[in-house]
Amino acid sequence: MGKFRKWTLMIPILLLLVVWETVARTNVMPSYLFPPFSRVIVTAYLLIANGVLLTHFLSSLIRVLVGFFLGSLTGITVGILMGCHDALNEALQPILSLLMPIPALDWLPLLMLWIGIGEALPITIIFICSFFPVLYNTATGIRGVPKEYIRVARTLGASREEVLKTILLPLALPSILTGLRLEAGMAWRVIIAAEMIAIPIGIGALLMASESLLRVDIIMVCLMVLAVMCFLFEKVFLLLERRYTKWR
């Protein structure tokens, strides 16, 4: 039943591809503007074979991984500190409230002036994109743990550090993982946008180059890569959520 259900979920996607292929071949639009799916697949194969797609993809992937890892790690660390210390939470909360609503890409002009156009720029953008939401989810998750759990853990012999390790973090984990899952997908969307504006290499840069050459098939290959990577990154954290929060 499980396998059958998985296959039935593929049916709408297959139908979309069939409609795409059929409509494109009826020449409703010029084929250079709306190529059939089969041509996009051939283009994808050629881009992989000549190494172009891999070069751009790896550049984007490394930026996402480094920026997301650093942003999340810092976000979780500061979030834990804010979650555990009332004074720090009160001090940082107004700053967080001011900075968090700013979309990550809006930092781009300022960062271009401050750190220039280079590898540090997209990584910093991804860092900002991940840092604030993960920090918020971590602090909220920890502060949301009822104080009674802490009291009981203390009477059972837990020091403050052990309370954090054995009670606060596990109970805040669903909130932290939800933040990571949402931002993992968001990181890909942001890196593509950043590369389109200011970076010469990466999937976003390839998108912009394809647009200037009227290569819609390459644009579609890039969009498919983006869709797959967003899906995979979110899926990884969804699996982690299911595995480590099954007590809910």
Binding site: P146, E148, Y149, R151, V152, A153, R154, T155, L156, G157, A158, S159, E162, T166, I167, P170, L171, L173, T245, W247, R248
Partner: protein
């Protein structure tokens, strides 16, 4: 197991509390809502600020943090850790103390067997009933062999049968382990069933420390009287036994009462337990005229 002493303990609720609880005693803390019962437990557990002193076996423990006081605590809403299964909840304190894995497994199994819930050891808390959760909470509190057990209305939300079963089980367990226990309740029946001695708290102040019988027959002040309710105290003369019951003549009224040996001189009857039965369902009994309020339940009239 230690004796517990409180000397001039005060905080945001408690006012100059002086109390001594004997080694191995099951001490019941009675009082209306907001009287400071839970706060008193929190003081002993070291979970709230207070002035004054708390002693275990005459040694002050005021500077000792909660994790080192050797207290087992079952809070009112149990606070079982939802991310841990039953075995991990019970073994939590042992893991913190870095006990060997085999010891933890054996100890957890022993406690779960003692509480009759060994078959639940791998279940998460969300999959337990109210009575099962109560037993897990008690097992968890006992796991590290605490010096003192603090129970805050642990059977509050249970059906009467399960609560009664668990009270008996807990009483036996407490006697077997000889652990000094403070049991908070506002239920008089529970206090009667469980207590070696009782204390009544009212607005943060101790009102009376005594046995349950003394509390019923000799309430020290109006706060205690109001809390326990106005009971009908009748002097009695023992007349004999009938099928395990004692026949008593209580001021001209023949009454059968449970007989557990000893002398019966007085009995206390809760007004809520008195029923006046009408000879005819639609005609209230003559006694009605002398009562403030009655509620009719079929042919019975319950005095309020």
């Amino acid at each position: 197991m230690p004796s517990i002493k409180l000397r001039s303990v005060s905080n945001f609720i408690l006012r100059n509390v002086n109390l001594e609880i004997m080694d191995g005693e099951l001490f019941v803390l009675l009082g209306p809502t907001g009287s400071g019962k839970t706060t008193l437990l929190n003081v002993i557990a070291g979970l709230v600020e207070y002035k004054g002193n708390v002693f275990f076996d005459d040694k002050p423990i005021d500077m000792i943090p909660p994790e080192d006081r050797g207290v087992g605590y079952v809070p009112q809403d149990l606070v079982l850790f939802p991310h841990l299964d039953v075995a991990s909840n019970v073994g939590y304190s042992l893991r913190l103390r870095k006990k060997p894995k085999t010891y933890i497994e054996e100890r957890v199994d022993e406690l779960l067997r003692m509480m009759g819930i060994l078959h639940l050891k791998h279940r998460y808390i969300k999959n337990l009933s109210g009575g099962e959760k109560q037993r897990v909470a008690i097992a968890r509190a006992l796991a590290s062999a605490p010096k003192v057990l603090l129970l805050d209305e642990p059977f509050n939300n249970l059906d009467p049968n399960t609560a009664s079963y668990l009270r008996i089980k807990l009483r036996r367990l407490q006697r077997k382990l000889g652990i000094t226990t403070i049991f908070v309740t506002h239920d008089m029946h529970e206090a009667e069933e469980m207590s070696d001695r009782v204390v009544v708290l009212y607005q943060g102040e101790l009102q009376q420390v005594s046995t349950f019988d003394e509390l019923i027959f000799s309430p020290r002040n109006s706060n205690v009287s109001n809390f326990i309710g106005t009971l009908n105290i009748l002097t009695c003369e023992y007349k004999g036994t009938l099928g395990g019951l004692a026949i008593c003549d209580c001021q001209g009224i023949p009454i059968l009462v449970p007989f557990e040996g000893g002398f019966i001189r007085r009995i206390a009857i809760d007004p809520k337990e008195i029923f006046v039965v009408a000879e005819h369902a639609d005609i209230p009994p003559p006694i009605l005229t002398s009562l403030k309020e009655l509620s009719q339940k079929s042919q019975k009239y319950q005095i309020r």
